[in-house]
Every structure is written in C-alpha cells, then in structure tokens.
C-alpha cells in the first residue's frame, strides 16, 4: 500500500518534471520561467512551513530564519570559498540542520504562543546579525557582487534554461521528498501529536523529540527555498531574513490551505500572481496586501484547497448516501473576492 502510493507519487513527479521541461518550448517567455523559479523558492519554503503548521501543529512565526540562513550561507560559500554548487548546497543544509537543532531544542517544548514568538525572536536575531556584520554580509545593502555559477555534471546554471530546469526540478524533488515524509509512519506520528499530544505520550511517543525532528526537517527544506532564491537573484538581501518573509509564507499556506499537501503550493502560486498584479498597478503594495489579508482572515478563514477538499469529500459522501445529505459548501470562484464582513 505504502510502496505503491510512493511509486504513484514518483510517477506524478516525473510527469510534472517533464511538463516543466517542455513548457519553455511551447510557451517561450522570460516572465514565465522567472515565475517558475520564484515559485520553486516559495513553493518549497511554504510547503516546508506547512510540515510544521499543518502536520506537526507547531505554529512557527520565524520560519524565515531558514530562508535567510539558506540564502546567505549559500551565497557566502560560493563567493568566499569558491566551492562547486552541490558542495555549497550540502554545506548550507548541514548548517541549517545544526541551527535548527539548537533553536528547536529551545523552542519546541514551549506552548504555542511562546513558540511562535521565540522562533520570531531567533529570526530577528539573524536579521540584526546580517545588518550589523557588514564586512561579511554587506549589511543593509545586501550581499552583492554576484554568486558564481560554475558548471557541474553537465549542468550550466549560467544558461537560463538550465537554471530554470534546475530550480523546477528541485521544486518537484523537494515536494516529492516532503510528500514521502508526511505519508510515512513518522508523518502520521506528527499528526497524532498535533491532534492529541497527551495520547501520543501515553502510547510511548517522545513528543518533544518528534517535534524537534519535524522542526529540523522543515528547517532544512526551508533553507533550500532560500538557496533557490539566492541563485535566482545572484546575491542575498537582508529582506530574506526579515519577518515579512515569515508573514508572507504564513499567508501563502493559509490562503492555499493547511489541510491539503498541495495547499501551500497553490497559495504560493496565488500570492506570487497577486504580487505581480498589485505591484504593476500601484506602489502601495502593503496597503493592498494588508486589505486582502484582512478580507481573507475575517471573511473566508479557510484556504482554497481546504474548500476544494471539503467539496470533494461532500461529493463522495453524497454519491454514497442520499443526495440530499450533502454538506458540501459551494466553492468560491475566486478565494480572495468574498469579504464576509
């Protein structure tokens, strides 16, 4: 059962990768490939946050710590040490795991609101370090001077198509791995802890250890999102470690839905498209985004994929039972349109 579903996921991933590979030939556009690369960064990042929020019930408000850490570590390793890209990737993930172990060990035993704010505090700490340590990080100007992209294994990231395919492939691969993790016994243990930690303890699960493991895994994937971003902009900026990154990621997973695996990805697509549309129309980006957030949080309250999943379950129920028993709620045409004041 387990094995066949993993095989199915692998096939879906391969198909998705094939579609991504062909897409630029069918629809050649610089804007599209840039969008996919940004989506890779934020899709991986948001999904990794949802490992914590949706599956482990750990409401982190400082996940941007790993986005910034990943971007800066990767860019600095490439610039100062001149290693190859896979080595820099491995080093960055290693450092993120170490940091996540330390931060997680302090944070995961705390009650929810303390957890949320302590993770935020650690992120602010990284941000202030980046700003203050100007000789190394370039301070508030950001790390400029470009990230070198030496070829490896026949992949030449200085060519747009290679970069596009590499980032797209990373997105597919990371989603596949995370999917595998949440479908594993470990993933189900996390769900049990989220729903009833006392019962999990009673069954012999060491709750804080499982939470720490989830925190470390999410941190490692989060840093990959940062690395993709750093590859894309060929540098690293303090904004990557600023709290708004965490806020945006939270909005992404809420918008897309936390109960469905692809919810965060859907949220990332929606928010990125929204970003592009809003920045084209007005310079008051924060004002518009803030109003949309309020309309969402006070009106809709649930993500796009949550509604979709509910509707789907309702349909299945009604096809089994009498048609009148359906509880499905109608799917809104556009998830950000309804303002239920």
């Amino acid at each position: 059962m387990m094995k066949s579903s993993f095989l199915r996921d692998c096939l879906i991933a391969l198909a998705a990768f094939a579609i991504l590979a062909v897409l630029p030939f069918v629809y050649p556009s610089r804007g599209m490939s840039d969008f996919v690369i940004r989506l890779a960064a934020f899709g991986i990042f948001a999904t990794s946050l949802n490992l914590l929020v949706g599956y482990a019930g750990l409401e982190s408000f400082g996940h941007g710590l790993f986005f910034g850490l990943g971007a800066y570590t990767f860019a600095l390793t490439m610039q100062k040490l001149g290693t190859s890209i896979p080595v820099a990737f491995a080093l960055t993930i290693l450092l993120s795991v170490v940091v996540a172990c330390v931060v997680g060990a302090i944070c995961v035993r705390l009650k929810e609101i303390y957890f949320a704010f302590l993770t935020l505090a650690f992120q602010m700490l990284l941000h202030s370090l980046i700003i203050a340590w100007t000789p190394l990080t370039g301070g508030d100007q950001g790390l400029t001077g470009g990230v070198p992209r030496p070829p490896f294994l026949g992949i030449r990231l200085d060519q747009p198509y290679h970069l596009y395919l590499f980032c797209g492939g990373l997105l597919v691969l990371c989603l596949l791995l995370m999917r595998h993790i949440v479908q594993s016994p470990f993933g189900y243990t996390l769900r049990m802890i989220r729903d009833n930690p006392a019962r999990a303890t009673f069954l012999g699960v060491q709750v804080w250890r499982m939470r720490l493991a989830a925190f470390v895994i999410a941190g490692a994937f989060g840093s990959i999102g940062g690395m993709v971003m750093s590859l894309f902009v060929s540098g690293a900026f303090p904004d990557f470690a600023y709290w708004t990154i965490s806020g945006e990621a939270i909005f992404m997973i809420m918008l897309g839905g936390t109960t469905v695996f692809f919810g965060p990805l859907a949220g990332a697509i929606m928010l990125l498209m929204l970003n592009d549309a809003v920045t084209k129309l007005t310079e008051h980006y924060g004002l518009v985004l803030g109003i949309i957030i309020l309309m969402f949080a006070l009106g809709l309250r649930k993500g796009f994929m949550d509604y979709l999943a509910e509707w789907w379950r309702g349909r299945q129920m009604s096809s089994v039972a009498a048609p009148a028993a359906t509880q499905a709620r109608p799917l809104p045409a556009q998830p950000v349109k309804v303002a239920g004041e």
Binding site: F117, L118, L129, A297
Partner: protein, 299 residues
C-alpha cells in the same frame, strides 16, 4: 566584542550614570508598550502583534499635533487618546472576530493591519525619517550627577513613566475595576455569569493598552527618529519583556523592561554587534530557569 571599553565604562561614575539614564529611558518607554501587550495577553490570551504600530501611530500623531498647536502637552494627550480610540476600534472591528481561532490566524490579522498602517503612514507623512526636535519647555541646561550628564527631558520622562507604572499597578491590584480585569483573565465564563459584560472589559483593556502605547510613542518622539516600521522591534522587545517578567504582571513588565533597557545601553558599549543577541540570551535563560517568568504564576 569590546570588553575593555565596557570595563572602562563600569569603573567610571560618569559613564555609569550616562548609560544608566539612557538605559532607563529605553526601559521606561518599552514598559509603556509592554504593559499593554502583557495586559492584553493576560486577559484575552491574544498577542497583539500590531501593538508596535500603535506606538508608531502615537509618535506620528504627536508630530502633527505638535506641529499644528506647538504645545507638547496637548500633543501627548492627543496621541494617548487618539491611539486609545484606535485600539478600541481595532478590538471591536477586527481582533474580536478571531478570538479563539488559531494563533497563526490572529498573527495573520495583525500582520495585515501592520502592512496597512505602515503604508498609510508613508502616504500621509512620507517615507523619510522624521524627527520632532526637543520641545522648548525642555531646552534647559542638563543636570550633572557625579560627572554624568542627564538632560531635563530624560528626568521628566523617567519620573512620569514611574508614576504611571505605580498608578497602573495600584489600579490592577487595589480597585474594583482591576479586580474584574483579573477575574476575567482567570475565568471569563464565571465573570459573565455574575452579570458583568466581559466584551466591555475586553474593549476596555484594548483602550487602555492603546493609550499606553500612544503615550509611549508621544514621549519617544523627541528622542527617537520617527519612521514607518519603527514599531516592529518594539513589539518584539515587548514580547521578550513579557516573557522575562511573566504574562499579565505589571511589576514583571516594569522589571523586564528596565533589564532590557540596561542590557541595551551597556551592551552597545561592550558588544556592539551582539546587543540584540544579549536580549535573546537573557530571555532564553529565563525561559529555561523559570518558564512562567520572574513574576508570573505557575500555570
């Protein structure tokens, strides 16, 4: 790290006095914001992440009212009342709709409000740094204590906020209203069954928290630069303060704020790169040794 400089400072009386007063200033301003955050959390179990924006609004309101009327006293009063009313509206229209939902949903709502306020402030007052300048009343020669220079305004600020702290503490512990607030924090259902309108208490707590934050912004205006986004570091520090002092405790908020203020002012001499890190370190130590905070009750 610059330990010799720190050593030089703590051995000279003038440096100790100068740094202590600047630490007290930071701490007392922080206290006004943190007391609101702590009260709101204690009563409603909601962290008002937008509280830093209240502080920012207070500073900008002061800028405008002082510019129009030229009276600093009037500006301070207007900022306190204006931001208090804003807090009331914020509670009634927005935050009361997410009581009892996920923590992240509450934070998301606050995030939205912060984005809106930061941008509105930029539209109304401009994106560049603004400053109020010292009001004429306080343009007097500074006091000298043992070689340390203490401006008149600093002394005024410390005394005023101390009076507010004492009044607030007395109001919470001694008056009937304070008793109701503490009761709502423990068991809102029972209080409501006894015929007290708890919704009114919630709104009142936000009004009070908003007034304190507005006052903090107004008092900070002469000594800080005013800019959109200035509230965030304050709200994070306020949270650190409430963790150190214990949620819902006025005395804890005061002690925590002063600790953070002193750490900041002496930290900039000894560890210029790591001042923020010192605060987080302090918080981590308290969390490990006494998770409920220095003045918090065990839960």
């Amino acid at each position: 790290m610059d330990l010799p400089a720190l050593g030089n400072c703590v051995t000279s009386l003038s440096c100790i006095i100068t740094q202590s007063t600047s630490g007290l200033i930071i701490g007392m301003l922080l206290f006004l914001v943190a007391a609101g955050v702590s009260l709101i959390f204690g009563v409603l179990k909601v962290v008002n992440f937008a509280h830093g924006s209240f502080y920012m609004l207070g500073a900008y309101l002061t800028l405008t009212v002082y510019g129009v009327t030229g009276s600093f006293l009037l500006a301070v009063v207007a900022a306190a009342i204006g931001v208090g009313l804003f807090g009331l509206l914020f509670e009634r229209l927005i935050i009361s709709r997410v009581y009892g939902s996920q923590v992240l949903m509450q934070l998301l709502v606050c995030y939205g409000v912060i984005l809106i306020l930061d941008d509105l402030v930029k539209i109304i007052w401009g994106a560049e740094f603004r400053s109020l300048g010292m009001p004429d009343v306080f343009l007097k020669p500074p006091f000298l204590f043992g070689g340390g220079v203490v401006p008149v305004y600093y002394l005024f600020l410390i005394v005023l906020t101390l009076i507010i702290a004492v009044l607030l503490g007395l109001a919470i512990t001694k008056t009937r209203l304070g008793k109701i607030v503490r009761a709502v924090a423990v068991n809102p259902g029972m209080v409501s069954a006894l015929g007290i309108n708890t919704g009114l208490v919630y709104a009142g707590v936000f009004l009070l928290g908003g007034m304190l934050a507005g006052l903090a912004g107004a008092l900070a205006a002469p000594v800080r630069s005013i800019v959109s986004g200035m509230g965030l570091s304050v709200v994070v520090e306020s949270f650190i303060v409430t963790v150190i002092g214990g949620m819902g405790s006025v005395a804890g908020a005061l002690v925590g704020s002063l600790l953070i203020g002193l750490v900041r002012s002496f930290g900039t001499i000894g560890f210029p790169l790591f001042t923020e890190g010192l605060m987080f370190l302090l918080m981590a130590v308290v969390l490990v040794l006494k998770p409920s905070g220095l003045f918090g009750r065990e839960t």
